[in-house]
């Protein structure tokens, strides 16, 4: 009995230690963001929260168009997510529940596109943006990512397993057209899958760095990640301010993640085991 107890304690000791390691950067970021840069430069380092968070926030706002950048990031992340949820689930529902000429061929093409690395296309894609006049515009971030193969593939699996053909048929007999059936039957029943795909897309879009860095050529009109990188490059020595900016950039996402964490983790790990 005591031996098992001891093992349990040791087990949780290691698991908690890992948890502390994973959480430490957040705590340390808050410590740096609430102290002055002079405090950070001290030895031994100060391990407590300070009272300078407000000042640091003000410095961030003075040096970078923080709210503008955050609004840009939010615009991109929200529009991309909504578009992906709509287009992917509609295509997935069609693939999962209907038969039409060329269906299998189209699906194979879809799967094949998942193997192609995105940055292979970066140079000509920039040229395409230039032709469309989208360089520097948020459209360049939203439109190319408005539908993706992964989401369609993932949602299709869900529709196949969770919606009975009888249900779709009943809806059709009730006079729901194709779109009506999608809207009234398929979408409401796919909430868990939509939640996962939504968070996955939102997080990816919020944290995207390379493509915004390339295509948003006007330094006053960038996303949060690019603004943060610029802040770091220009004021790297003012650590308390830069860390405050980093903190402000990641807090919204951490909150959103915490709210949906269970569904998200379930979705993220299920695919790996099934596949």
């Amino acid at each position: 009995m005591t031996r098992y107890r001891l093992r349990g304690v040791a087990l949780h000791a290691v698991l908690v230690l890992a948890l502390l390691v994973f959480m430490f950067p957040f705590v340390w970021t808050i410590i740096m963001a609430s102290n002055t840069t002079a405090d950070i430069y001290r030895f031994p380092p100060k391990f407590s929260f300070g009272g300078h968070f407000g000042d640091n926030v003000r410095h961030v706002l003075d040096n970078v168009a923080f709210f503008q950048s955050m609004a840009n990031t939010a615009t991109v992340a929200i529009s991309t997510t909504l578009l992906v949820l709509f287009f992917d689930s509609l295509a997935a529902f069609t693939f999962a529940k209907f038969r039409f000429p060329g269906r299998n061929a189209l699906f194979v093409v879809l799967l094949a596109t998942m193997l192609l690395p995105a940055q292979l296309a970066a140079v000509p894609q920039f040229q395409t943006m230039a032709i469309l006049g989208w360089v520097g515009s948020l459209k360049a971030l939203i439109i190319p990512g408005a539908a993706n193969a992964f989401g369609i593939f993932w949602m299709r699996q869900y529709f196949k397993n969770s919606i009975h053909d009888e249900l779709v048929e009943a809806a059709t007999l009730d006079g729901c057209g194709f779109f009506g059936t999608y809207w009234h039957v398929a979408l409401p029943s796919a909430r868990p899958a939509l939640a996962f795909l939504g968070i996955f897309t939102f997080v990816g879009s919020w944290n995207d760095y390379m493509w915004p860095l390339i295509v948003l050529t006007n330094p006053d009109h960038v996303t949060l990640q690019v603004a943060l990188s610029t802040l770091n490059r220009a004021h790297g020595v003012d650590y308390s301010m830069v860390m405050t900016g980093a903190l402000m950039a990641m807090v919204p996402l951490v909150i959103i993640f915490a709210v949906f964490a269970r569904q998200f983790i379930k979705g993220a790990t299920e695919g790996a085991v099934r596949g």
Binding site: L15, P25, T113, P117
Partner: protein
């Protein structure tokens, strides 16, 4: 047709004559967004990349066909080899510890009964955290003058290191960040894999008198192989495309001795700082080949092992 016929059969047999293709227009319309976007922003750019790799172009003047010049230059470019070596070294330095730690934590997490949800959420958070913010954080931790790592060394009486100013320091800083960001994610993937192993197998092993270590190597690991393959392939694809960490931590130059220069950073510089688009396209193609090669190697290793059994 009976009332229980499936929708798809209803669709197909609705008329005696084969329905004309335009009668399915709703379905094609529903699928069109993805295919249109892929054609414009995926397929077309990829094909042009292949063409561009055989041309010389600065983005302004006319394109000039130069045959294999870009590739010939590439294999003689020392920076390319440095970038290639760095990418592979960084990939190994980050992936091996990540997957080993993740497996250990997953096995432990599986035998934990309480607080498992707290652990799962906390372990996953690093994976959804902004790469830029964390790259800034890790460069402060490894900073020479006030970084935590040097503060710890100093209090132990060990001389301080200029981590981000020397080749190995840069690699250690970058891979530490990658490990931190990916251990939790892989832990949860392994945990899901572990939970999918049938309990009977463990009970049978127990009856046969197999110890914990024996059980782990003869049941857990073989059963987990597909999941391990998945994590290795995902880490390979991600690891070979490392960009944000070095770009934010040591800048576009790749830092001292170009020690943080990865192939994707090299590509980014050629394309968007030097405007040498043809050369960049050749680099992009080589990255693609590299990813394919590594994926094939992973696949082979795991396939051969399972055939041995």
């Amino acid at each position: 047709m009976t009332a229980t016929a499936t929708v798809s059969r209803v669709t197909v047999t609705a008329g005696p004559v084969r329905r004309r293709i335009w009668s399915y227009w709703r379905f094609y319309l529903a699928l069109s967004p993805f295919y249109v976007l892929f054609a414009v922003f995926g397929l077309y750019p990829m094909v042009s990349t292949i063409v561009l790799a055989f041309q010389r172009w600065d983005g302004l003047s006319a394109r000039k066909f130069t045959g294999l010049d870009n590739f010939a230059f590439l294999i003689q470019d020392p920076t390319f080899w440095t970038a290639l070596e760095n990418t592979v070294v960084l990939f190994l330095m980050s992936t091996v510890p990540t997957l080993v730690l993740a497996l250990v934590l997953a096995v432990m997490l599986q035998s934990a009964v309480r607080f498992t949800n707290v652990y799962r959420i906390a372990y996953f958070i690093p994976n959804v955290t902004s790469l830029v913010a964390m790259a800034i954080f890790f460069s402060s931790v490894f900073s020479t003058n006030f970084g935590l790592v040097n503060a710890a060394l100093r209090s132990l009486g060990i001389p301080q290191q200029d981590w981000l100013g020397q080749p190995w320091g840069i690699k250690i800083a970058i891979s530490t960040m990658i490990v931190w960001q990916w251990v939790g994610y892989n832990t949860l993937i392994y945990l899901a894999g572990l939970q999918a192993i049938p309990k009977e197998q463990y009970e049978a092993a127990k009856v046969d008198g197999a110890g914990a270590v024996r059980t782990f190597f003869s049941i857990t690991l073989p059963q987990l192989r597909p999941v391990v393959l998945f994590t290795v392939i995902m880490s390979t694809i991600g690891g070979l495309q490392t960009f944000t960490e070095p770009q934010v931590m040591v800048g576009n130059s790749g830092g001292t001795g170009q020690s943080g220069m990865t192939v994707v950073l090299f590509f980014y510089r050629a394309a968007f700082l030097d405007n040498d688009y043809g050369y960049a396209a050749a680099i992009a193609l080589s990255i693609f080949v590299l990813v394919l090669l590594f994926t094939a190697i992973n696949w082979r290793i795991f396939r051969e092992r399972s055939e041995d059994r």
